[in-house]
């Protein structure tokens, strides 16, 4: 099947403004969007810049706007979205080149929620135990691959790039509700500030965008609730 790719191109060294590049490739309907991008890059235009690592929906490096919706190019099958495919870099981030955006501010916020287990207590001779019920509380949050689809779809983030963003909130949720973690207070303080979770306006764009199907707004809601009861 003939597939037309329309890709928003931008090279900061030569271009003043982004421009649309159109490419026609012959693809199998079961191929993924990433395969089509590869075909363009390998056989038509080697200057097309894209970031991908594992190409199997685990590393989260090929998030982009596919036909107006955020998603992973390696997880989107061509037959599901038709033969005219429009690709843009993630919104709200600085474009480095073509489909590659600067994720550093995103990772900076990720680090700000202390995304690691904090517990100075002696675990004893064995590991720290946790019941299946305790684990289930934050199960969804552990699925996040930090692709940035959610944060790049969030109007609160577009309006204020200092907003923590849904991805970092999910990571905070993963540790705040972990029964083994002891830094709940510090983490709640980190996400409860002026640019923290209260900037969430429950728009649900992040839930629509998440390729891992995490109910992000619910996770943020649980953090808000924890903040409310913690202050009281």
């Amino acid at each position: 099947m003939k597939v037309t790719l329309k890709i928003l191109r931008f090279n900061p060294e030569t271009d003043q403004k982004p421009w649309w590049g159109e490419y026609e490739v012959d693809m199998d309907p079961d191929d993924r969007v990433l395969d089509a991008i590869h075909k363009v890059k390998w056989y038509q235009d080697g200057t097309l810049t894209v970031r991908r690592s594992c190409a199997h929906g685990i590393c989260g490096s090929d998030a982009m706007v596919i036909n107006g919706r955020n998603g992973l190019a390696c997880r989107t099958i061509i037959k599901d979205i038709g033969s005219r495919i429009t690709l843009e870099p993630l919104r709200g981030f600085r474009v480095i080149k073509d489909l590659v955006v600067d994720m550093e501010p995103f990772m900076e916020k990720y680090r700000s929620v202390m995304p690691y287990l904090i517990n100075d207590e002696d675990p004893g001779p064995r590991e720290r135990l946790q019941s299946p019920a305790e684990r289930a509380i934050f199960d969804e949050s552990t699925k996040c691959i930090l692709c940035g689809c959610c944060t790049a779809s969030c109007p609160s983030f577009w309006a204020n790039p200092d907003y923590l963003g849904p991805a970092a909130a999910v990571q905070a949720h993963r540790f705040i509700f972990d029964s083994r973690d002891r830094a709940t207070e510090e983490r709640l303080a980190a996400v409860g500030g002026k640019d923290g979770v209260w900037r969430c306006r429950t728009i649900f764009n992040c839930v629509e965008a998440c390729p891992r199907e995490i109910n992000i707004t619910k996770a943020i809601g649980e953090i808000k609730k924890a903040l409310l009861y913690n202050d009281g």
Binding site: V95, T202, I203, F204, K218
Partner: protein
């Protein structure tokens, strides 16, 4: 790279674009609810000033107020008032929906809640239209 060393570079593009609010072609229910809530909110702020102006004519006597309210009988203004009913009902009901969501109530039913808000808004507007025309 350590967080302290990192300086965020000035973006060459994209610049901040207001159009991004409207840019996701395939909006979910939550996205539409947000957009409508913002637009109706702006309209209500503008209406508030109009409302104050109309009421302020009372300070110049009952006649001044009566002369202005005669205008309200024109079909065009009646239509605007009908729009006002829709805007107020939507903004109020969706406001309740948003408060519930912020308190983490019914997050999984947010779409259904949006459809209920829309249904009540349309129904109320139709009933109001029957009274007005």
């Amino acid at each position: 790279m350590l967080a302290e060393e990192y300086k965020r570079p000035e973006p060459l593009w994209p610049k901040k674009r207001l159009g991004e609010w409207f840019s996701i072609a395939k909006k979910g229910a939550g996205g539409w609810a947000f957009l409508l809530h913002r637009l109706t909110g702006i309209l209500l702020v503008l209406y508030l000033f109009l409302h104050f102006y109309v009421l302020s004519t009372l300070s110049r006597g009952a006649n001044a107020y009566d002369n202005l309210t005669v205008l309200m009988e024109s079909p065009f203004l009646l239509l605007l008032e009908l729009g006002l009913v829709a805007v107020i009902v939507y903004h109020g009901l969706n406001g309740i929906r948003l408060m519930l969501l912020t308190l983490n109530v019914g997050v999984k039913q947010q779409k259904e809640m949006f459809w209920v808000v829309m249904a009540i808004t349309i129904l109320t507007t139709i009933i109001a239209a029957l009274f007005m025309f």
